[in-house]
Symmetry: C2
Subunit: 356 residues, 2 copies
């Protein structure tokens, strides 16, 4: 199998099965309810959050792992609106991933726009676009939003673990991301939230769950959120899912994101070069930016029969995915995709297109 779909579901890391067996049998089976303390379950969302923080340029205490990306966009977009109560609009790209658009629209009660103005409360934007692979200039977009008095909420789902990020350095306000793509946290692994330290104390989550309380076990009548990023926790976190993600992150230890990015760019460049050389007359068009600096870690090819092409590749063991109506995404997870995989994938693609 040539797995070019790590941008949708990352591959299993070799150390994950053992860690899962241990958390199930020893921590849960033997440790029982005491593992909330003795095996660090209670602190897992912030401990694992800090590990992700290193990969996104956030100091410890900036990131917490919780809920799904969808729920996190909801919490942070709502909180952002509350921080700009005199402004009514949310800016969102109409080509952005559906959940971001649907939730932005719901939170803004229909008041979404495509351009920034003095009525914009928050800009919700994917850093790397799920379809085209376009990577935005995070620092520039953030500065532009700030100049207009708005906040920015970045969705890092297609960035984290593949491209360098510097949330603190770019003065980003809020961010979310999923962990089952380049981070290989497992199917439906929990998502994360980032909140700039300067905003944490005023951030008012719309879902004041007991786990985000300053003193959760006091069972107080009033709600006082945790002073830090824990306030974005809602209900009891899934420890099994967190354990898989935690183990998957071990693979990133000692790996520089710049090295990963260099590998990712080289894989993408080779792919585009081979597509140009060998598939020029097959009707395939490169749908992603050709400049590596404007592209994430996947390359989209546009073809009128993209769905059939993806199916035929799959039968040959080349796993990529199809995004309606006409896009085939080739994801290059830099930790485990090799140059020979790219070469072989284009061989298969050429064979498929000839018979298409």
């Amino acid at each position: 199998v040539i797995y070019l779909n790590g941008n949708s579901l990352g591959a299993l890391s070799l150390n994950v099965p053992e860690r899962m067996a241990d958390v199930v049998a020893r921590e849960w089976g033997n440790g029982l309810v005491g593992s909330w303390d003795s095996n660090g379950w209670w602190d897992a969302p912030v401990r694992v959050g800090d590990r992700i923080g290193r990969l996104v340029g956030a100091a410890p205490g900036g990131v917490v792992v919780t809920d799904s990306t969808t729920v996190n966009v909801f919490k942070l977009a709502t909180a952002a609106r509350r921080m700009r109560p005199d402004r009514h609009r949310i800016v969102v790209d109409p080509r952005d991933f559906p959940t971001d658009r649907y939730v932005a629209n719901a939170v803004a009660e229909g008041n979404v726009a495509t351009t920034l103005d003095r009525d914009t409360a928050v800009v919700v934007s994917s850093h790397v676009d799920y379809a085209s692979g376009v990577m935005k200039d995070m620092a520039a977009v953030t500065a532009e939003a700030h100049d207009a008095g708005a906040l920015v909420l970045w969705d890092l789902s297609h960035s984290v673990g593949a491209v360098p990020l510097d949330l603190d350095g770019a003065d980003v306000d809020l961010a979310v991301g999923c962990t089952y793509k380049y981070l290989s946290g497992g199917p439906g692994s929990p998502a994360f939230c980032y909140v700039a330290s300067r905003l944490q104390r005023e951030l008012d989550s719309p879902i004041p769950g007991w786990v985000g309380h300053a003193r959760p076990f006091e069972m107080e009548s009033g709600y006082e959120p945790d002073a830090g990023v824990r306030r974005l926790l809602t209900g009891t976190p899934s420890i099994l899912a967190l354990a898989a993600l935690d183990a998957a992150l071990d693979v990133f230890d000692g790996v520089s994101i710049d090295d990963l990015r260099a590998k990712s760019v080289a894989l993408g460049e080779l792919f585009i070069e081979l597509v140009d050389e060998r598939l020029g007359d097959t009707g395939v068009v490169v749908g992603s930016p050709r400049e590596a600096s404007r592209r994430g870690s996947h390359v989209s090819l546009v073809h009128p029969s993209a769905g059939k092409v993806v199916d035929a590749l799959c039968e040959r063991g080349v796993i990529v995915d199809f995004r309606r109506p006409d896009v085939a995404r080739f994801g290059f997870a830099p930790l485990y995709i090799r140059f020979v995989d790219v070469w072989d994938a284009v061989d298969h693609l050429a064979a498929v297109l000839v018979s298409a």
Copy 2:
């Protein structure tokens, strides 16, 4: 170990480790992204939901597994308010579990009340109280709310898997529950939502995630929720957590809830009888109803030094839990607690109280 805390975190079922190893290595590791179809991941929230449906008296299509109890209370309480737009209040018991109170208060924007009237949009109530173990009369409370024109949202966290429930039969509107207590789904396992079939089409979730869309892979510009209970799905569900829960539910196959309830009642009766007989002069008071029909599956003892008593029991291998300020909860998970465990636990309790 005598584990009387299955009402907080259910014990590990013997078949779960093997199922987890299989979902990790075979479904994720080998099946990769294709497992969303080939291994039924995409349908897991409704498939596992239907298994829970059998335990709560809901026909297939009434229950979906998703998110945490907290997030589900938020979604359903908000949706309930939207179904009663002319009413402003949410009724919630000030002694109820914190998350229900905090979220009800947030959703009602502070307009919470303790008594039902014509301004009540929804009554949010635990069926079995987390502290006292008091079990409410579901059909009667539901009918009373309906008579006042309000909806009811039941929290079944301390009921499901231990007491008989008949949501469809009691004409319940909405319910949520957690799955890591009597269902033994694992630490932080995903929660569930129930929506009466008569309300499903009008239910308007405040978090319109892409997974709850009628046609999620069409990536449409507008949001159209799934026609059924799937509309309560938000982001990508955690498959590893769902697999543990699914395996845990195997243990309930072929088991009648009435038999479980009979065992649970007998365990509780024995416990109270032994406490009365042997601990009458130790300052311990039974804080739960003595009538089995008004009690769930745990018995709370009240003692001024409850915290110390719980710690001392723990050192002796009797695991119960402490709820501030003065409650020790003894949970009798009827699937795996034996009468001898109750007997031995009271022996230890007597020894601890003598030296307290």
